[in-house]
Subunit: 92 residues, 2 copies
Amino acid sequence: MSDVQLVDVLRALADPIRLEIVRHLADGTAHPKTSDLWPFDVQKSTLSHHFKTLRESGLTRTIVNGRQHDIQLRKAELDERFPGLIDSVLRG
Amino acid sequence: MSDVQLVDVLRALADPIRLEIVRHLADGTAHPKTSDLWPFDVQKSTLSHHFKTLRESGLTRTIVNGRQHDIQLRKAELDERFPGLIDSVLRG
């Protein structure tokens, strides 16, 4: 997490769908990436791209169990690295 | 400020130079836009563009006195609309 840059995190958050994904992940649990579980009217590839952007920015991790790919917000690490940022975004 | 959207604020913040400008404005006072007072190696027009992006996102206001154009962070309003966001960005 120490190599995660604030600008990259802000850029990842600066999109309505990614912001909504982060809000869905706010409970801290891992959520399946399965596209039909997400309430967005976008192509599967578009959703995958958003997931990738979130992971590469440092906001989320991917957890793979067998064939299931889950996405989880790195809440505790983010709170330590950027105190208050995620909470303010979840409230906003 | 009620029409200011979180996504737009995040997008405006998601740039190294604009983030640095916001940090310079953190003291809450109005700063002249005069380009040679800013420590950036960018064209005057580029700096103007960043100032405009910040203003249009709702992050800053412009104050014009005579021929002097100042830029000021809308800190109090932002703190009320997005509690903790600006402080976390200034710390980050």
